[in-house]
């Protein structure tokens, strides 16, 4: 059942201290409606066919695409692009009829692995194919798969992420798949985040089909497109997002982007609010509202969530209770950040820093953990990991840690799938 719940870690704020407080907003997307037909999808599959993909990797990727196509029908569109240092459109965007799908299989069979990796242009070509047939109502998305580093064309991470964001704002989302140990997960993660899609780490080629199937399956189950939380904050409150969601707007009204949500999906957003000074006894507050492109939340009659805080003296502040669930959600976010940070530093050979960031985060959580078993467990885990990160780690392990932490922070399971309410 669709619902929106907002909770605060503490409800009292200090009068002359710019208090910081945390908010946990839990949003559950509506169920799939049996009455309405599912919305169509418009996808581009963009596959790396650089030399390193030769052998099983490319074969399994092709197979995964074919299997995914089997889930589409004439309402949907798909195209296939392959890239190495040249870009080839294997199949221009077409309705997913049975014949088109057979055609795709034939053409894919002739593709083999060759040159270096122009990821950017391969991705843009897929983007063109999708953009030329933007749907009114469905999901328009590029699915980009690679096993290596972008070494031809635009290679700068922040530039590619920026383009992904620009495309997202214009209706085309991007999901990325990284296969093996040598691709750049920071690049793929940031393209997926900015692109309003998801990133999947595929440790072994045999898993390609599961991840592609899962992603395509989810595009077929989207119930709320371009979902956002609209935040209306009291005068002078500064809002930041701690979970890795994009925040736009400023002042009293801001928006948190959540991407496309699937039926029954549950997503947690963690905010940090910094309050202005205020007179003891006065109140201020926050209203949280869920919106999406077609108004699915509104149509479902979802009510706004409202929170209020009261300015109170220091003694009352010191004595106030805490909402443990919010504390846990906050701690999990910071732990996930710390781990992803530690991964980057370990890869860069910065072992001391990698250890430090984990230890420092554990220490800060200890400051409010009290006797809470989950928080204490988290502290112990982070502290345990410091020794692991103090020495060079295998590429696979680093990618695995990144993937798990990134998923945890985004309310996704270990395989990168959306979390759903029962």
């Amino acid at each position: 059942m669709t619902q929106l719940i907002a909770r605060a870690d503490r409800r009292l704020i200090r009068p002359t201290s710019h208090s910081q407080r945390y908010v946990l907003a839990e949003l559950t997307a509506p169920q799939a409606t049996r009455m309405r037909e599912r919305t169509p999808v418009n996808l581009a599959f963009v596959l790396d066919r650089s030399g390193s993909m030769s052998g099983t990797k490319l074969a399994l990727a092709k197979q995964a695409v074919e299997e995914a196509l089997a889930r589409l029908d004439g309402r949907d569109r798909f195209s296939i692009v392959v890239y190495d240092d040249r870009i080839d459109t294997v199949l221009e965007s077409t309705a997913a009829s049975a014949e088109a799908r057979r055609n795709a299989t034939d053409r894919l069979a002739r593709i083999d692995a060759r040159g270096s990796t122009n990821l950017a242009d391969g991705w843009f070509r897929g983007g063109e194919q999708v953009a030329a047939h933007l749907s009114d109502e469905g999901v328009d998305r590029v699915l980009l798969l690679t096993d290596g580093l972008a070494n031809v064309g635009i290679t700068d991470r922040s530039e590619l992420a920026r383009h992904a964001g620009e495309l997202r704002a214009r209706g085309v989302s991007t999901t990325t798949f990284g296969v093996g140990s040598h691709f750049d997960e920071e690049l793929l993660q940031s393209m997926a985040d900015a692109g309003g899609g998801h990133f999947y780490y595929i440790a072994d080629a045999v898993q390609i089909r599961d991840h592609i199937a899962s992603e395509v399956g989810e595009t077929l189950e989207v119930v709320a497109r371009d979902a956002k939380l609209e935040l209306l904050a009291g005068e002078g409150i500064a809002v930041e997002v701690i979970s890795p969601h994009r925040l736009s707007g400023h002042g009293t009204r801001s928006l948190v982007s959540l991407g496309d949500l699937v039926a029954d999906q549950v997503i947690d957003v963690v905010l940090r609010l910094t309050f202005p000074f205020g007179d003891i006894g006065r109140d201020t507050g926050l209203i949280v509202r869920a919106i999406d492109r077609e108004g699915a939340f509104e149509a479902g009659g979802l009510a706004d969530a409202k929170l209020s805080w009261t300015w109170a003296d220091n003694a009352e502040n010191d004595a106030q209770p805490r909402d443990a669930d919010v504390d846990r959600a906050v701690a999990r976010q910071f732990a996930a950040r710390a781990r992803q940070d530690a991964v980057k530093r370990n890869r860069a050979g910065d072992f001391e820093q990698a250890r430090h960031v984990l230890g420092a985060t554990a220490k800060r959580i200890r400051g409010y953990a009290g006797r809470d078993p989950e928080l204490r467990g988290l502290i112990a885990a982070l502290e345990g990991e410091t020794s692991l990160f103090a020495a060079p780690m295998e590429a696979r392990m680093l990618k695995q840690v990144h993937f798990e932490s990134a998923n945890a922070a985004r309310s996704r399971d270990a395989m990168g799938r959306s979390l759903r309410s029962s």
Partner: protein
């Protein structure tokens, strides 16, 4: 924050970036006109009079909207009434004044330009979103465009720009904005295919330059980067790329250092 309750306008001094002359240039009006609108309460006051006064994107967006409404022969009283119904975000959405610059084109237009398949002239793009009016008489809103590469001459943007609509396929405008746009649409057929393209990206092999907000050409400007609720770093851009990367790292470190857990 100076809040004008009556007019529902908010001006946050942190966003101030333009002098009166710069603001007037960007909006295509005279400084005298800007002062007039300030006096009439159509633009939020900035609290500091005289040459030190600085204005924000919200002023620019409102000026553009006022111009557009005037072109549609709306009297000042009516314009004031319309403005009062909209907040900053709504006005920005209508006039597409965002920190990233000029009005965006469609996804396809964007890709074609980035990949160099279409030159820097008006492209044929999809028309306005259904239900929204277009504005055939729109001026050169974007006379001064950001430089994409420092050694390139400033590009002259085409005459028409379709700044009215949100990007096709993008998030729908809030309903009150949509109603506003319908109400202010001049009669006549919507203009199709007239849109000003996004700024070009440099050729692939050039070092990528970040997009700059609509600003004075040839002059550098100061960016403010928030490090923590009460701490800012001021950076004069454009910066040479190696330094820019080090600054990014500095910001990362500083934010981490200043970040606090609940206490």
């Amino acid at each position: 924050m100076t809040l004008c309750y009556y007019m529902c306008m908010a001006y946050d001094p942190e966003d101030a970036r333009y002098t009166l002359t710069e603001l007037a240039d960007l909006a295509g009006v005279t400084p005298r006109t800007v002062r007039y609108y300030l006096a009439q309460g159509l633009l939020p006051a900035v609290g500091v009079a005289g040459p030190g006064a600085k204005y924000a994107d919200t002023h620019l967006a409102r000026l553009r909207l006022i111009k557009r409404l005037q072109r549609a022969h709306q009297p000042l009283a009516e314009i004031r009434h319309r403005l009062a119904q909209l907040d900053d975000d709504a006005i920005a959405a209508i006039t597409s004044v965002t920190e990233n610059g000029p009005p965006p084109a469609s996804a396809l237009d964007y890709i074609l330009q980035v990949t160099g398949q279409v030159g820097p002239v008006r492209g044929v793009g999809p028309g306005p979103l259904p239900g929204h009016g277009a504005d055939p008489g729109m001026d050169q809103l974007t006379r001064q465009m950001p430089d994409q590469a420092r050694d390139q001459a400033p590009r002259q943007m085409p005459d028409q720009s379709n700044a009215l609509v949100a990007p096709t396929g993008g998030p729908a405008l809030p309903s009150r904005v949509a109603r506003f746009m319908e109400a202010s649409a001049p009669s006549g057929p919507p203009v199709m295919g007239q849109r000003s393209p996004s700024p070009l990206m440099p050729a692939r092999n050039d070092p990528p330059t970040p997009p700059k907000p609509p600003s004075r050409i040839g002059r550098s400007q100061w960016d403010r980067v928030t490090l923590a609720p009460d701490v800012e770093l001021h950076i004069r851009r454009p910066l040479p790329r190696p330094i820019s990367k080090r600054v990014d790292r500095l910001v990362e470190i500083a934010r981490e250092l200043l970040q606090e857990e609940p206490s």
